[in-house]
């Protein structure tokens, strides 16, 4: 089947999609956006967290066909050109990134948390990120990163709009 979906502000179409393919597979293998990671295929680890119409979902649990005509924003769509989103920047400087495999999902989940709750307490951070597994950091520096991002000024007016597609040059095939 053919799946048409807006990804990071750009209209994209994937051809010959097999009905069993997930949104994650289509993003990674058909649209050249491997930033969302596949680590469990069961929605347990959160590594594939993306926005689907402004709501965060595990892309591995969304059938590709369910995304037809909808809007997706992935980790590749968070930065503003060369300028990192405040959540990305905070993960970078606090040491919240080790192997980095969980990072895309955590960055999207934390981005979503700060959109909803501008100044979360530690318990709120923990609850919001409980669906994202990290095996390297012990989470302490991830909490630190979210606190730091919350303290940074939000990128005004750019919360949902994706004005460019980082993927088209960074990771496209």
């Amino acid at each position: 089947m053919r799946v048409s979906v807006e990804v990071n502000g750009e209209q994209r179409t994937a051809e010959d999609v097999w009905a069993g393919e997930s949104l994650l597979y289509v993003l990674r293998e058909r649209l050249g956006l491997p930033g969302s990671k596949n680590a469990c295929e069961q929605g347990e680890c959160g590594s594939c967290t993306v926005y689907l119409d402004e709501v965060v979902v595990c892309a591995c649990l969304v059938a590709a066909g369910q995304a037809e005509g909808r809007s997706v924003r992935t980790v590749e769509g968070l930065a503003h050109g060369a300028t990192l989103d405040r959540v990305q920047q905070a993960f970078l400087v606090t040491g919240a990134v080790q192997c980095g495999f969980c990072t895309p999902g955590l960055v999207v989940a934390a981005h979503d948390l700060l959109r909803r709750v501008p100044d979360p307490g530690d318990n709120e951070i923990r609850e919001a990120l409980a669906g994202n597994l990290c095996r390297c950091t012990g989470y302490e520096k991830i909490i630190e990163a979210v606190r730091l991002a919350a303290a940074a000024p939000a990128a005004a007016g750019r919360a949902a709009a994706s004005d460019e597609t980082a993927a088209s040059d960074g990771t496209a095939r």
Binding site: E76, Q98, N123, L133, G138
Partner: protein, 802 residues
């Protein structure tokens, strides 16, 4: 980058990344403030070594960090090439069976299938193994564990490959498996590897002092450690690309490029030079990438089809695709005088190595030689057996034999303290290992061993505030989320609303551990570094090239830091790790900062010496380098070794087997719902000596992450195996700590230089994984009053169900 990718095929882009200063959030204090755990009064880290920004002792931003936070780093599962095929693997459903026949016809008939291969198609030797080559690339005649690869398929779509796998017909003659390590020792048990002559992979004996020693106070205990999984997040994966010279290019996530290269080349029947391996982005390792997984399979399929082949395991397959931490049975006898001085320790440790040897021999060596822990004991007898069985193969995981032993000896120290009526920390301090003391192997500890100091420091850290009471306010002072004025998220069971504080008891426990750093027992352990100094655009630039695997720990950052410090040059590029330079050894055994760090420093020293020679002697500041060097470059390649070690005597276990010892101590504070068996770890405090904090932020990250894995083993992580079958091969059923399971951590870092090591550093990665497990279990014991002789501790154990 010449290669089939538009995305960079390696973890680290070959671009210079300027160092930035230490982030203010991380560098000044190693302590982690939290509402319930005030920061410990730890001293600041040693100042950075030189004036150059981003050098040794600072915490520059990791050079691969921007790509990682943008989702643009090419992990081994993200690779793609024109005409690429997908590989899939048929695995044994039986723990032990003969293969009567394999019928590939239906698989080959499926449209979109390009190749279906069995052991008959392995052109070289159908055997591999890290230490002992005893494992077939594809099973030939017999399978020895559930999940053993039998055949591989290449197809145009991964689902086609999986369907083809399902159409392969294998006729098995099912045999009675050996699924218990003790049964494997029975002389009547079937010999799983007849050529080995025994099911014992290795028996290590340590004997010291008087074998007939007696003590006034004796405690005995039997302990069990379950099978832990490394559970890295990035499953096994890679891309093999056939080369025009008949060889193959392999892009893969691994811990040791050259040991992969040697094994792949042997199986392919190719010279090593025709198997060129480049490190792709690695989604965690923790020991699980030391053994081969899909490497040979992808290369076989690529060479057969003449097309690039990618293999990516799913999570379930990953549980079958790598070795695990050895489950263990440990029987200990500790004897002391009335004052609590240890007189004797006798131990028997049985490790289930599963179907193939992997690193079982070395794990047994560690469990035995570190088997009494960081204590001075005059009379020691330790026997450790690593055995073959038909369970999943076990090998390297962070802590490597020291984890299992530590749960045993630390549980015993608590039992002995109780028997003596002594404080458990005081008992440990009285017997603490120290510099100049002698290990049970006869090796004298010849650098800092601040075991007592580490214990004093974790004990002295402020305790978290008291636990919640049924009707009291939230201990953190945060707004309540539940009725009654408390925050459910701070109670065992959390928002499952299983308690409002009733039945909840607080416990505090301690643990301290010891780990060897680097490869031991006479292994020729070295690393190779190539350092190149050039002038680009009027500015000096350094390129560092090694084959050392960046697996998340921050080795790429560290290599650049060392080059900056040694050469005074700001712009340093760390080239992608590949086999175009000599071996760096494995990213394991807490060894890369020491060994590859040592190699990078040594290569920089040679470059600097040549630069100074050209300048006519004397130091050359960075600004003067362009004038001295002109258009020329200086490049030096150095193979660097740490001081040699010795094998253990096979009868007595005596010998200077280890390069360096490393120590960490933990204090755990837990709240336990003793009626439901639920645990919330309130706080985990750690003190560790790292010799020199090369990168303070990375050091703290290793301690926090390592501690989390130890917490997981204490409370939740176990691969459950029944009849040789894994019952929980998913992240739904194999639980690793979430952000709600991990408490705030107070970290106190000591920097007592080891004069034998580069910059005085001490390996960091493993010690925190070792001592956190017994500390957490001790805290749970203190809360519930039950002996808890098995990890992970289950709710049933806490409430005392039979």
């Amino acid at each position: 980058m010449t290669g089939p990718f538009t995305a960079p095929p390696a973890a680290v882009p070959p671009v210079a990344v300027p160092a930035t200063g230490a982030p203010p959030a991380a560098a000044p204090s190693p302590s982690a403030p939290s509402p319930s755990a005030p920061p410990a009064a730890a001293p600041p880290f040693t100042a950075p070594l030189t004036g150059v920004e981003g050098g040794v002792g600072s915490s520059p931003v990791r050079p691969d960090g921007v790509l990682k936070v943008r989702g643009e780093l090419a992990y081994s599962s993200d690779l793609w090439a024109e005409e690429m095929l997908w590989g899939a693997t048929l695995r044994s459903p039986h723990p032990y069976a003969r293969i009567r026949s394999v019928d590939l016809a239906a698989a080959l008939a499926l449209p979109g299938v390009y190749a279906v291969l069995t052991h008959d198609d392995v052109p070289g030797d159908n055997i591999y193994g890290l230490e002992h080559a005893d494992q077939p690339v594809l099973a030939a005649g017999v399978v020895r564990y559930v999940g053993e690869p039998v055949a591989v398929v290449a197809a145009g779509h991964p689902e086609t490959a999986r369907r083809a796998v399902a159409r392969i017909r294998v006729d098995y003659e099912v045999l009675d498996p050996v699924t218990d390590a003790e049964a494997a020792l029975d002389p009547a048990a079937p010999l799983l590897h007849p050529a080995h002559g025994s099911n014992v992979v290795r028996h290590v004996r340590i004997r010291r002092g008087d074998p007939a020693a007696r003590a006034e106070v004796v405690v005995r205990g039997e302990y069990r450690v379950g099978m832990q999984d490394q559970a890295f997040l990035g499953p096994e994966s890679g891309l093999a690309v056939p080369a025009e010279d008949g060889g193959v290019e392999l892009y893969v996530a691994t811990q040791w490029l050259h040991v992969d290269q040697a094994q792949v080349a042997r199986a392919l029947g190719l010279p090593a030079a025709k198997v060129r391996i480049t490190l792709a982005g690695v989604g965690g390792a923790f020991g699980a990438r030391e053994d081969l997984s899909m490497q040979v399979h992808a290369c076989l399929l690529a060479l057969r089809t003449g097309r690039p082949v990618k293999i990516v395991y799913g999570r379930e397959e990953s549980f079958y695709g790598h070795v695990h931490r050895h489950p263990a049975v440990l029987r200990y006898e500790h004897g002391a005088d009335r004052d609590g001085r240890l007189v004797l320790v006798r131990a028997e440790i049985l490790l289930d190595g599963g179907a193939y040897a992997s690193t079982t021999a070395a794990v047994a060596g560690n469990a035995a030689s570190l088997g009494v822990g960081p204590y001075v004991v005059p009379n020691v007898s330790v026997d450790c057996w690593g055995v073959y069985s038909n369970n999943p193969p076990c090998g390297a995981m962070r802590g490597f034999g020291a984890v299992q032993a530590c749960f045993g000896y630390e549980s015993q120290m608590d039992a002995l303290a109780a028997e003596l009526g002594l404080d458990p920390v005081e008992l440990r301090i009285r017997n603490a290992l120290h510099e100049g003391a002698t290990m049970p192997t006869g090796q004298v500890v010849d650098s800092a061993a601040p075991v007592a100091e580490l214990l004093r420091r974790v004990r002295a850290m402020p305790l978290p505030l008291p636990g919640p009471s049924p009707y009291g306010p939230s201990p953190s002072g945060l707004p309540p989320s539940g009725a009654g004025g408390f925050d459910l998220r701070e109670l065992p069971g959390g928002v499952s609303n299983t308690t409002h504080g009733e039945g909840v008891r607080r416990g505090v426990g301690y643990g301290v551990g010891i780990k060897n750093v680097g490869f031991s027992e006479g292994f020729d352990d070295y690393s190779t570094a190539r350092v190149r100094l050039a002038v680009l655009g009027g500015e000096p630039v350094v390129e560092v090239r090694t084959a050392a695997a960046e697996v998340g720990q921050g080795l790429v950052t560290l290599q650049a830091q060392i080059a900056r410090t040694e050469l005074g040059v700001q712009r340093v590029t760390v080239a992608p790790a590949d086999t175009s330079v000599g071996s760096a050894g494995s990213s394991s055994a807490s060894r890369q900062s020491y060994v590859t760090g040592g190699a990078v420093r040594a290569a920089c020293e040679q470059v600097r010496a040549e630069l100074e020679r050209r300048a006519g002697g004397g130091p050359v500041p960075a600004a003067a380098i362009p004038a001295v060097l002109g258009d020329d470059v200086i490049e030096r390649t150095v193979e660097w070794r740490h001081r040699p070690t010795e094998p253990l005597d096979p009868l007595t276990g005596q010998g200077n087997a280890h390069v360096q010892y490393a120590f960490a101590a933990h204090r755990a504070v837990v709240d336990v719902d003793v009626e439901l068996g639920l645990v919330r770890v309130v706080e985990l405090a750690c003190a560790q000596d790292v010799g020199r904090a090369m990168n303070p932020q990375a050091v703290v990250g290793q301690i926090q992450g390592g501690s989390a894995q130890g917490l997981g083993l204490a409370l939740m992580e176990e691969i459950q195996v029944a009849g040789g079958r894994i019952r929980n091969p998913s992240f739904t059923d194999y639980l690793i700590p979430t952000i709600l399971d991990m408490p705030p951590m107070a970290v106190d870092v000591l920097e007592l230089a080891d004069p034998h090591a580069p910059y005085g550093l001490r390996g960091v990665g493993e010690p925190p994984t070792i001592s956190s497990t017994p500390a957490v279990v001790a805290a749970v014991r203190a809360a519930c009053g039950r002996p808890l002789r098995r990890v992970p501790v289950r709710p049933d154990d806490i409430v005392g169900l039979p």
